[in-house]
Symmetry: C2
Subunit: 305 residues, 2 copies
């Protein structure tokens, strides 16, 4: 089986257009006149990205939110989306359509088009393409963190992890954690506010550690994260405790869709965010616990999604 | 099971943006400054759009060509594509990547980005989004055929049908027919040449009859097609014969990706095309054989793909 990094390496050798930026980002940037369009595509697959019994309205919400989250990380204002939909059962499809409608209204985003294919035996897969306009040019990439920059993250991490465990039948946990998994928020306002002052920005879809490492690597730097600074919610702490181990888990889990950004430590930020680390000359991710470098967890995040 | 028309009706009630044009076209049109961007998304599913044993390079080619064909029908110049890819076996993925590379080079189109998801049990599904610039504004829609317009089609029809039968083990038939199924051409040059003078244009993905009926319906007209005028290749005639029945089959089968367009009968055309019918006041599709209206075949084309 091909690994995702291996396939992406093959695609990188093909994607030589400047608009693709070496596929180092989750988006493509297309310059049209004086505008920069930001365009992204995400797939979601039953059993990988959602549980087979999930509410189809939640699936629709999440499909939209994860796409818009990529636009948010570039400070883009969404124009609209195209949907690739696989038909299935009546109830599911109707629930999905209603949920999509509500989510589009919530974000004030237009459905522009797409494609529908007939049902097949096996898990459903869905695709969405989102298009937006950059509100600040150049749109922040993930490749331009500078040595000495501080690494910040919005919100709290690990909540979606607990929500996922709750969906899998674990007892305890607040509804807010379940929502964090099922109905992530695309931080469009925050992304637009941050775009003019960050050096690099991306959303955390695969986990803080893996995504911070990607930003550092794309920027030709190393990054150090002090795990004591990983922001945790009250709900997460109630469920998982507040230990080095629970912080490592929060940093290894994806699906939170918070914004991760690099900026100079002199900036005052227009958005609430927590400093979790520092970019330094070198390579790789170094985790600090109690003043000492520790070994990174075996699994830094989701590579194969 | 939800039918595709039923689901599309649900989506139409959501897609109220002018850029979506009521989802009446295969593309969305986004105005940016003085430019019009044309954007389309198509999915392909193993067992629905390609046979499980198909050459992955052919699948890559077809995924690109069907998307570019939607741009061709709007007279657009392609900018690039985003790929939604489901990982599977090494050989397949590598064959797909190589085939995609060759196809992108053939059409001189950039790979801009996309998403990769892990393998799942069940048929593979792939998605592609293509973006282009309209070379003639307004880009031709499918909604503006006029009463008295002639209906034209480029090339020949039914070749992909024979190619599909050959892939399913039927003996006989030229390689050109197999290629018509596996490696359809996106008629980008032809679409750009026609865009300034047509009243309506689309590509034939689902079949001449169903697609002509859609153009007529979207334009508030009826359309009459004389089946004697359906253009057939020598290879098709050798395989299927040249009878009313074989012409009806050629008009009912999709996957040819020829351009279908409406224009005034006074135009001289920059592209070789065959007049197959006429738009008239009224509704629906009327087929003519030997001077008399005949009953339409039970299945006009592919509705559920």
């Amino acid at each position: 089986v091909t690994s995702e990094p291996q396939f992406i390496a093959m695609m990188r050798s093909i994607a030589t257009s400047p608009a693709a930026n070496g596929l180092q980002d989750d988006v493509a940037l297309i310059e049209i006149g004086s505008e920069t369009l930001v365009i992204t595509h995400d797939m979601m697959v039953e059993g990988v990205h959602w549980l087979p019994g999930a509410n189809p309205a939640d699936v629709a919400w999440k499909l939209l939110a994860v796409n818009l989250s990529d636009l948010a990380a570039k400070g883009a204002h969404p124009i609209g989306v195209l949907l690739g939909f696989m038909l299935g059962s009546d109830d599911w499809d109707i629930g999905f359509a209603a949920g999509l409608h509500a989510a589009l209204n919530h974000y004030n985003v237009a459905l522009l088009g797409g494609d529908t294919v007939s049902e097949v035996a096996g898990p459903r897969s869905l695709g969405m393409t989102a298009i937006g306009r950059a509100t600040h040019i150049p749109a922040p990439s993930r490749t331009a963190a500078k040595e000495g920059d501080w690494l910040y993250v919005t919100g709290t991490l690990g909540d979606a992890k607990v929500g996922f465990e709750m969906e899998n039948g674990h007892s305890g946990g607040d509804q807010s954690l379940r929502d964090a998994f099922n109905r992530p928020k695309a931080l469009l306002d925050e992304g637009r506010a941050l775009a003019p002052l960050v050096h690099a920005m991306m959303d955390i879809s695969d986990g803080l550690f893996i995504d911070a490492g990607r930003m550092a690597s794309a920027s030709g730097l190393g990054v150090t994260i002090d795990i004591a600074n990983i922001p945790l919610s009250r709900g997460y702490i109630n469920f998982c405790g507040d230990t080095s181990g629970s912080r490592l888990e929060a940093g290894s889990w994806g699906d939170d869709y918070q914004l991760l950004f690099a900026c100079s430590n002199a900036e005052s930020l227009p958005v609430a965010a927590t400093r979790v680390g520092t970019f330094l000359r070198g390579t790789g991710l170094t985790l600090i616990d109690n003043g000492s470098a520790i070994e990174s967890p075996m699994v830094l995040g989701f590579e194969h999604r």
